[in-house]
């Protein structure tokens, strides 16, 4: 039997997810648009005082990025579950740990990375200090990767539930808290002129921990979902 090398399979899955995303470009743009629109809501809801907005920009940007990531992670496995692709993935002879990493990577590329790259635009609109923009991008890029890992755990645990829509929020938001704290602290530190490296190092540590452990939880969650 000409079995498929695992790396080729991971690349195949990644290509599949990216292709699916590109086929409905709306979906790629959506988290960005959501990000932008919710950020626009803040001046409307909180009042347009530029000093206040600038002061809270790190927190606002991070909260909204977190919501964007949360809302997209729900759909990550759902359509694959509904149409039976997930059964096929679980039956496949390839190691599930790595397959699942491909999914997470695709999710991060489509939402986290794009968000991080778009964030400077909105940061400027909110009046974030210029020296904080690079740390914002770096912290978002690292932090959203952790969010993707954690979000995928939530997605895998709720995939077989019929209307999981917001249940995932309950499962996942408490776990997002540390990322939010260190992410927004990094940006705040940059605004205040302190070094951001310690914060980024902590985010990177969380990421390594996540990459090492989360796929096990995701794989277990998917197996449970298929069985239920």
């Amino acid at each position: 039997m000409n079995t498929l090398p695992t790396v080729a399979f991971m690349r195949r899955l990644l290509r599949r997810q990216l292709l699916l995303a590109l086929r409905s470009p709306v979906d790629v743009a959506n988290p960005l648009i959501f990000f932008g629109m919710v950020i626009v809501l803040f001046p409307i809801g909180l009042g347009p005082d530029p000093v206040i907005l600038a002061r809270f920009a790190p927190g606002i940007l991070w909260i909204v990025a977190l919501l964007s990531s949360l809302l997209t992670s729900d759909a990550l496995f759902r359509s694959d579950f509904d149409d039976g692709s997930l059964e096929q993935l679980l039956l496949s002879p390839q190691p599930l740990y790595l397959s699942v990493l491909s999914y997470v990577l695709a999710h991060w590329l489509i939402t986290g990375l794009l968000l991080a790259l778009m964030a400077p635009l909105f940061a400027i609109m909110l009046g974030l200090a210029v020296q904080a923009i690079a740390p914002l991008v770096a912290s978002l890029a690292l932090g959203t990767a952790v969010l993707s890992l954690v979000g995928c755990i939530g997605a895998s645990l709720t995939v077989s539930l019929r209307r999981g829509g917001m249940l995932i929020a309950l499962l996942v938001l408490p776990l997002y808290v540390p990322v939010l704290i260190f992410g927004s602290a990094a940006v705040q530190a940059a605004v205040d002129g302190f070094s951001v490296l310690p914060y980024l190092a902590i985010l990177a540590a969380m990421l390594s921990l996540g990459i090492a452990l989360a796929p096990f939880a995701i794989a277990a969650g998917l197996r449970i979902g298929i069985d239920a």
Partner: protein
């Protein structure tokens, strides 16, 4: 095939008992699927065919008693057909999450032609008809290197000619030393001996 001294079973189920929602579906079933065999699982709606097939294929890992041993890689096609509406038939197979073999595009095109989808390779699957979407999935029967097939109502939504072609493929697979466990509400017209396993009897007992 080269002569093998003793044929080993591809799938062995020992004393399998399945219960769902307080109803016993299968009790004490033992089954050996040998190379070249075709098993048709029969039973009325709700008799437990799908439940049994999911246990045999390893998708249900809990909720049953007994042992199931799978000696070889298997191909499972269920009620849901793992077809992405946003990908073309070609892409659906090329990027399939089953990941059991490495196929070139011309392999895939040949398989798609075999299930009557020649000319539709590059349409998005979502625009195809119900039967055509099922056929994309069935193209894996022409691609997969797995010797054991577990098929849950493979003929759903397939027209008469399509069923004939599939039955030929079944016979060919069995001849080549593969084995098939399938369910269908229609009788199988295959040029090979078909063993039947009826779940209705079990339930009545």
């Amino acid at each position: 095939m080269t002569a093998t001294p003793v044929a080993t079973p591809l799938l062995t189920a020992t004393d399998v008992t399945i219960e769902r929602g307080g109803r016993g579906l299968v009790s004490g079933l033992s089954l050996q699927v040998m190379p070249g065999e075709i098993w048709q699982v029969e039973g009325v709606n709700g008799s437990g065919k799908t439940s049994l097939l999911r246990v045999l294929s390893g998708l249900s890992r809990y909720g049953y008693d007994g042992q199931v041993e799978r000696a070889v890689p298997l191909l499972y096609l269920g009620h849901r057909s793992a077809v992405k509406p946003l990908l073309s038939p070609l892409e659906n197979l090329r990027l399939h999450p089953g990941g059991e073999g490495d196929h070139t595009d011309s392999d895939i095109e040949r398989a798609l032609a075999a299930v009557g989808l020649a000319g539709f390779e590059d349409n998005l699957a979502g625009t195809l008809s119900a039967g055509q979407q099922r056929r994309i999935n069935l193209a894996r029967l022409y691609l997969s290197p797995c010797p054991l097939w577990i098929l849950d109502e493979p003929f759903t939504a397939i027209d008469r000619e399509g069923v004939l072609a599939l039955e030929q493929r079944f016979a060919q697979h069995a001849q080549a030393g593969g084995a098939i466990v399938c369910t269908s509400h229609q009788p199988l017209n295959v040029q090979a001996s078909v063993s039947r396993l009826s779940l209705d009897r079990e339930r009545a007992a």
